[in-house]
C-alpha cells in the first residue's frame, strides 16, 4: 500500500503573532515553523498503518517555501516516513490552499497513492480546503474530520468515523481515498535522536507545481491582530458572596455579557 501524507509547516503555537511590513500577512521573520497539529496526527496514522500492513510505504509531501518546508519534511523522515517530496510554493506566505492542492495533486499523479492522509485543517489559515480540493483533483472521494481509521487488508477498504451535524457517521470506502484526519489512534510519537541525525542527510525529492496563473486563487489583503489585553480587573472582596455579587454586577452592567 502506497500512503502519502501531506503536511504543512505552520508557526509554532507559542509564536507571538505580528503583522508583516506589507500589512497583508503574518510576519514570519524569526518565527519557528513546525508540523501543523492535525498533520502530526496524519503522520502518526500513516506510520501506524505502515507498521501493521506488510509492504506499506509512507511518502511525505509538503508544499511551501524554503527552508521551512524542507525542515518539516525532515521531521517526517525522522518520525519514520520512507520518502519525502518538496513541492515549491510561494515565499511570501500568500499560499492558497486550493493552489497547494493543485500542485500536490500533480505530484501525486506522477506516482499514484492508495491512501492520502492530511490534517483536517492547518493551525494558521484554518481553511480546511486542501483535502477536499485534493480529492476532487485526484478523482477520489474525500472525507474530513476523520477519527478511528482502520484498514482491512482482506477487502482493501478503509472504515472510519466522523462527527457531523447528522451525528456520529461511520463510513466504508475503497481506495484510493483522501482523508483529513482529526485524530490518530495514538498521541503522535516523537522522533528519536539517531533518526533525527539521519534525517538531516536524507534525500528530499523536489517537484515543481503547475505554473501560476492556471486558476484563480485567494490572495491576502490585510492581516489584523486584536487590541492587546491589558490584564484583568481584579475584584476586591471580604466574603465569597461579595466577590460573586461584584462579578455578576460587572458582567451585567460593564461587560454586558450576562445572560
Amino acid at each position: 500500500m502506497e500512503i502519502v501524507v501531506c503536511v504543512k509547516p505552520v508557526p509554532e503555537a507559542e509564536t507571538r503573532l505580528r503583522v508583516a511590513g506589507s500589512g497583508r500577512t503574518v510576519d514570519t521573520e524569526g518565527v519557528k515553523f513546525v508540523l501543523a497539529g492535525y498533520d502530526e496526527s496524519a503522520v502518526e496514522q500513516a506510520l501506524l498503518l505502515k507498521e501493521s500492513v506488510p509492504g506499506a510505504r509512507v511518502r511525505a509531501i509538503s508544499y511551501g517555501p524554503p527552508p521551512r518546508t524542507e525542515e518539516v519534511l525532515r521531521a517526517c523522515l525522522a518520525l519514520g516516513c520512507d520518502a519525502a517530496t518538496w513541492v515549491e510554493g510561494p515565499t511570501d506566505g500568500s499560499g492558497d490552499p486550493v493552489a497547494a492542492a493543485r500542485a500536490v495533486a500533480a505530484t501525486i499523479r506522477g506516482a499514484p497513492a492508495d491512501l492520502v492522509l492530511c490534517g483536517k485543517q492547518a493551525g494558521d489559515d484554518e481553511e480546511g480546503l486542501f483535502a477536499s480540493a485534493l480529492g476532487e483533483l485526484l478523482g477520489a472521494p474525500d472525507f474530513g474530520l476523520v477519527v478511528d481509521l482502520r484498514y482491512d487488508p482482506a477487502t482493501g477498504r478503509i472504515t472510519f468515523q466522523r462527527p457531523t451535524e447528522s451525528g456520529q457517521e461511520r463510513w466504508e470506502s475503497p481506495l484510493p481515498c483522501v482523508v483529513g484526519l482529526q485524530q490518530a489512534w495514538n498521541d503522535p510519537r516523537t522522533a528519536k535522536l539517531p533518526n533525527i541525525l539521519r534525517s538531516r542527510k536524507a534525500p528530499i525529492a523536489k517537484a515543481v507545481g503547475p505554473p501560476e496563473g492556471d486558476a484563480p486563487v485567494g490572495t491576502p489583503v490585510r492581516f489584523e491582530l486584536p487590541p492587546p489585553r491589558t490584564g484583568a480587573k481584579m475584584i476586591e472582596y471580604r466574603t465569597p458572596a461579595e466577590a460573586a455579587e461584584k462579578l455578576v454586577q460587572l458582567l451585567r452592567e460593564e461587560a454586558k455579557v450576562f445572560p
Binding site: 503555537a13 503573532l17 503574518v26 497539529g37 486550493v98 492542492a101 493551525g123 494558521d124 484554518e126 481553511e127 480546511g128 480546503l129 483535502a131 477536499s132 480540493a133 480529492g135 476532487e136 478523482g139 477520489a140 472521494p141 474530513g144 474530520l145 472504515t159 457531523t164 451535524e165 447528522s166 451525528g167 456520529q168 461511520r170 463510513w171 466504508e172 470506502s173 475503497p174 484563480p216 486563487v217 485567494g218 491576502p220 489583503v221 490585510r222 492581516f223 489584523e224 486584536p226 489585553r229 490584564g231 484583568a232 480587573k233 481584579m234 475584584i235 472582596y237 466574603t239 465569597p240 458572596a241 460573586a244 462579578l247 455578576v248 458582567l251 461587560a255 455579557v257 450576562f258 445572560p259
Partner: protein, 328 residues
C-alpha cells in the same frame, strides 16, 4: 446572471435552520439585487426548497432522491456544480456547517473557482469579492480577496444575522441525472448515530463557556463547574489536565489540541493558563478567571479576575447567578 448567487441547502440541514437563513442573508448581501437561486438535495429537499422560497429564493434546483441523504460529499459536489453551471451564478454560498465547509475545496477545484471557509464578513469591491475570517485559532483575522469569475464561500456558523422572511412562489426544477464518477460514489455510509441529546449547548457554538482545570482537584469536584454552567445556560469545557486525567472526556478539552472556542463570555476556573490552553480561548469576548494563585498567567489575558479559593467562590457565584436570573 453575473453577480448572482447560489445558496446550498445540504441534506443534514433542517429546513429553515439558522445556518440556512444565515446563508440566504449573505447571498442577499452579495447579490445586491441580482438573482439568488438555491439547490437542495435528499429526502428533505422539497421542504428545504419551500423554506428557501419563504426567504425569497424561489428558483431552487432539486435532487429529491433519498439516496442523496447518505451520499459522500464528493457526489454532492458534482450535483451542486451542475446546478451552479445551469444557474450561471458567480458565487456559491455554503452554510456554516462541517459538511458545508468540507464541500468548499471540492467545489472550488471542480469549478476552477477561488474559495474561503469560516467567513465572518463579506463584501464586493471593484477588485472582486473580499472576505474576512479568523485565523490562527481566532488570534488574528485576515481579509482575503477571492479572484476570478467564480468563488465559493463557506460561512462561519452564527457569524451573520439570519435572513428575514420574504416569501415568493417556489419554482423548483429537477437537476436531472447527475453523473458521479464510480470512484467518487463508491464510499458507503454504514451507520449514523444521532448525537445524544445534550443537556446544554455544544462547546463550539455556546455563547458562554465555563471551563475547569487542575485546580478543581478531583473528578467529583467538577460538579461545581457544571452547576455554574447550568445556572448560566453555558457549555462546559476543561483544560488538558482534566481530560488527560480522565475526569472528563477529551471532547471537553479547550486548547491547542482540543477545541478553539470564541464565546461572548469564558469563565476559567482553577486553570493556570498555559499557552496551549490560551490559544483555544483567547478570542472570547470577555474572559473571567478564578484562581488561588495571583501570579497565574490566566490573569494576564482575563478581563476580570478573582483570586481565592474556588471551592468557596464558585458555589457563591452559582448562587448569585441563580438569584439574579430568578432561578431560585
Amino acid at each position: 446572471m453575473s453577480g448572482g448567487v447560489l445558496v446550498v441547502a445540504l441534506p443534514a440541514e433542517a429546513p429553515g435552520s439558522a445556518a440556512l437563513r444565515e446563508a440566504v442573508g449573505v447571498a442577499r448581501t452579495l447579490a445586491s439585487g441580482r438573482p439568488i437561486e438555491g439547490i437542495a438535495l435528499g429526502s428533505a429537499a422539497r421542504a428545504q426548497a419551500e423554506s428557501l422560497a419563504r426567504l425569497g429564493v424561489g428558483r431552487v434546483h432539486l435532487a429529491e432522491e433519498p439516496s442523496w441523504d447518505a451520499a459522500p460529499g464528493g457526489a454532492w459536489a458534482v450535483a451542486i456544480a451542475a446546478a451552479w453551471d445551469r444557474s450561471g451564478a458567480e458565487t456559491v454560498v455554503l452554510p456554516g456547517s462541517t459538511t458545508g465547509r468540507e464541500l468548499a475545496g471540492r467545489l472550488a477545484a471542480r469549478a476552477s473557482a477561488s474559495a474561503a471557509t469560516g467567513v465572518t464578513q463579506v463584501g464586493r469591491s471593484a477588485d472582486g469579492l473580499e472576505v474576512r475570517r479568523p485565523v490562527f485559532g481566532g488570534r488574528a483575522t485576515e481579509t482575503r480577496r477571492l479572484a476570478g469569475p467564480r468563488q465559493v464561500v463557506a460561512l462561519r456558523a452564527h457569524a451573520f444575522p439570519p435572513a428575514e422572511e420574504a416569501p415568493v412562489p417556489l419554482a423548483a426544477e429537477a437537476i436531472g441525472p447527475v453523473e458521479v464518477p464510480a470512484a467518487v460514489a463508491a464510499p458507503r455510509r454504514l451507520s449514523v448515530v444521532a448525537a445524544a441529546a445534550s443537556t446544554g449547548p455544544g462547546l463550539g457554538d455556546a455563547a458562554i463557556v465555563v471551563s475547569g482545570g487542575r485546580g478543581v482537584r478531583t473528578p467529583e469536584n467538577f460538579a461545581l463547574v457544571e452547576e455554574l454552567a447550568a445556572a448560566l445556560g453555558a457549555a462546559v469545557g476543561a483544560s488538558r489536565a482534566v481530560t488527560d486525567a480522565g475526569w472528563r472526556p477529551s471532547t471537553f478539552q479547550v486548547g491547542q489540541t482540543g477545541r478553539a472556542v470564541s464565546p461572548q463570555l469564558y469563565i476559567a476556573i482553577g486553570i493556570s493558563g498555559a499557552i496551549q490552553h490560551i490559544v483555544g480561548m483567547i478570542s472570547s469576548r470577555v474572559i473571567v478567571a478564578i484562581n488561588s494563585d495571583a501570579t497565574a498567567p490566566i490573569f494576564k489575558v482575563a478581563d476580570y479576575g478573582i483570586v481565592g479559593d474556588l471551592f468557596q467562590i464558585v458555589p457563591a457565584l452559582t448562587a448569585e447567578v441563580r438569584r439574579v436570573r430568578g432561578l431560585g
